[in-house]
């Protein structure tokens, strides 16, 4: 195996971000939006991504003050060890839970195709493979995702293009049917649901050129917005709002209903599922890595890899906690709401305190002295 340099390029970062955003939501988001705001979902998507852009601004700003350190290292420096370490620990717990949640939703979906395979088997297989890669650090993860990503995007593109023939844009009318209050609320929820915006807290120092972080993350947000938009318009234009509300996985249903050129290409779902599985896998991978990295940095281990295996049983148990697919979705809503509040409040707060106390200046001086 090639030696790990633990540096990723801006492009790799971009791809990691987009893949992580699209882990699970990509195939359910049209239903969630149809249920709450109907055909106005595309407005909510803009609003949600705009809010995320604000949150990400603070995250990157904070990270740039400490370009060689992760959240797990600078948070205790800013807040002091007694306040800082619990906050980092909370983040680590959330990353474990988010990983478990993605894993569970993923397994629920796979059970649709393999109804008789026990869910434990699906979860454990994915976890072990993810664990194997996560032990090798960020660079192999980035390379794994880099290989899978273009194929996934082209399949999504083909799906959207193929559905265009039957898409009736009239189904997106009337605009602004939902009340502004609901639209605002749903925008916040959408923004909270964009798991992946916070991975920069930990991954920024791994970027080869950290200065490119802004353009990378905004590019990723725009790319994600375009993907979600295209899928939302395709699904609503194809099925209509009322039918979309009844579909658990609207995008999968779209791929199944689609025939390109009469019956020339049918059963599109086989492509979509096989590729989507790999992309969903990548975000499990990223969150497993994040959790293990955070834990190892709190514990001041020199190697990140040793904390991967102890986390696997935890994630496995957490993934099995919800008893039904409906509970899973309910719990993951709570999870992303609480986590969203964390992500929207803690980084700006840290930034403020850092400026007041001047921690970052002291820190860079110390670093210079060390050299």
């Amino acid at each position: 195996m090639l030696k790990n340099s633990d540096r990723i390029t801006a492009l790799q970062m971009f791809i990691i971000l987009v893949s992580t955003f699209n882990a699970i939501e990509v195939i359910v988001v049209p239903r969630v939006l149809a249920l709450t705001v109907g055909q106005d979902g595309w407005l909510v998507l803009i609003g949600g991504h705009f809010l995320s852009a604000i949150a990400v601004f603070f995250i990157v700003k904070l990270g740039m003050l400490y370009p060689h350190e992760t959240f797990a290292e600078y948070a205790p420096k800013i807040l002091g060890r007694f306040l800082g370490i619990p906050i980092v620990a909370v983040a680590a717990i959330f990353w474990v839970l988010i990983c478990a949640r993605i894993l569970r939703q993923f397994a629920d979906f796979i059970q649709l195709i393999l109804p008789q395979t026990p869910i434990e088997v699906i979860i454990l297989t994915v976890l072990l493979v993810a664990g194997y890669i996560a032990r090798h650090g960020i660079e192999p993860i980035a390379r794994t995702i880099e290989i899978l990503f273009p194929v996934f995007i082209s399949i999504l593109g083909l799906l959207v293009l193929g559905s265009l023939i039957e898409v009736d844009l009239m189904r997106l009318l009337p605009i602004l049917d939902a009340s502004p209050k609901i639209l605002a609320l749903e925008s916040i929820k959408t923004s909270f649901g964009l798991e992946g915006q916070e991975i920069l807290l930990m991954l920024l120092p791994f970027m080869a050129i950290p200065e490119k972080a802004y353009s990378t993350v905004y590019g990723a947000l725009i790319c994600n917005l375009v993907i979600r938009w295209a899928l939302f318009v395709a699904v609503i234009g194809f099925f209509g709002v009322e039918l979309t509300k009844t579909l658990v996985w609207p995008v999968e249903e779209l791929s199944r209903s689609l025939t390109i050129g009469g019956t020339f290409i049918g059963r599109f779902d086989s492509f979509l599922i096989s590729l989507w599985v790999t992309v969903a896998f990548t975000s499990i991978l990223v969150f497993l890595f994040l959790a293990s990295l955070t834990v190892s940095r709190i514990m001041k281990f020199r190697e990140q890899s040793i904390t991967v295996l102890p986390l696997i049983p935890l994630i496995f148990i957490a993934a099995l906690l919800p008893d039904s697919i409906v509970t899973t979705e309910e719990w993951s809503d709570y999870l992303s709401n609480v986590w969203g509040v964390f992500i929207f409040t803690i980084p700006p707060l840290l930034l403020l305190i850092s400026y007041i106390r001047g921690t970052h200046k002291k820190n860079s001086r110390e670093r210079l002295k060390e050299r």
Binding site: Q116, L173, P174, L243, K245, R256, S257
Partner: protein, 430 residues
Amino acid sequence: MKAIRPFLILIFAAVIVICAGCSNRVEINDRSIVLGVAIDKPAAPEEEGQGKEQQGGTQTGNQQNQGEDSGSSPQKQESEEFLRPEPPSEGKSPRYAMTIETPIIKALAGGGDGGGGGGGGGPKKLVVSATGDTFWDIERSLSIRIGRQDFYGHLKVLIISEEVAREGILPVMDFFTRRREIQQNIKLAIANGEARKVLEVEPPEEDFAAFYLDSMLQSLYRTSAKINTDMLEIRRDLTDSGNVVLPRVRASSPTEIVAGGAALIKDWKFIGWLSEVETSGYNIARGNVTGGAINIVDPKDPEGLITVLLRGSQIKTSLELVDQKPVYTIEGISEWDIVEKGTETMLWDTSYLAQVEKRLEMEVQRRVIHVIDKMQREFKADVFGFGGMLSQKHPDYWAKVKSQWDDKYFPEAEVYVKVTADIRRTETKT
């Protein structure tokens, strides 16, 4: 340790190779591929035991009540400390009878090798029924009638009998839309009479009634007197408004299926039939028409008839709110060829053609107006997507009328129809 290490790796690799595979797979020869499904009301219990072998080819399983061997005796009343579950309902007849049509693969493979001319083989298809209250229940109880696992991935048509549709198609649709292996481009039709009879038909041109019916329902360019929709479109219409127009089928003889006309579903329930001419009017109004012939009376000779064939058409519906009332305008252009003329009149004449066009326009508009009128007056069912259009363009108005749209506001809506017809060619004769 070092010595046995290669062997360990070898064993490990071998285990992976041997144990890998799909744990849920069902071999193709353990499956029976369901091509068509028919839903009926179960027959009265007297029929039990009848119809073992019918009409040479078709094997039929008899319909029975489920739970026949549940040996619980209601008379026995002991002092019971715990609540005993009630015995399975035996007196009540089950809600549905589901019939599946499945090919007998063995017979097909044998016939194919014989070079087509054989014909000496046994039956090519199996038509089996089972009864129950829900469709999963019935599907599972089919396994006491057929030895293979039924597979719905290649399902082509679903036929619902009029009786069942009258009670509502919502429970029926759920099984065929929730189940992932069922494709959403299957055809759905309402049977005039018993639905099972349609699947039992042995068309001379085709081995299976389901395939035959499927191809029959697809060729809309030949006539506009039938409905061509698939499950997906039906679901769209049903979730939007609850109203939909479905094709009508019936078995006219043991070898023949007739698929003209349409069945009207309102609020998921069957409420009436549309004739073939009315179906044609409906198709024109929705802009579904891609072909079809119309007869009109020769303007110069009231005895003679002229047949014109549709070559292309474009229909557009527009909506305006006038004095807080929706006014719809269906506008269309169409191109036709004169393909038959049973009179001696000379048609190589523009003024004559103009007369024919005039009559043609009248005829087309009459058909459309008639079917809209029938929907407004008789059935009070909006199947034209007028409500959906209103909700898209005037959501505030729609919010007011939504609850009573079908019963009160749709019948009062004004609809104008304006279709122009142009005759382009006259084939090879003048």
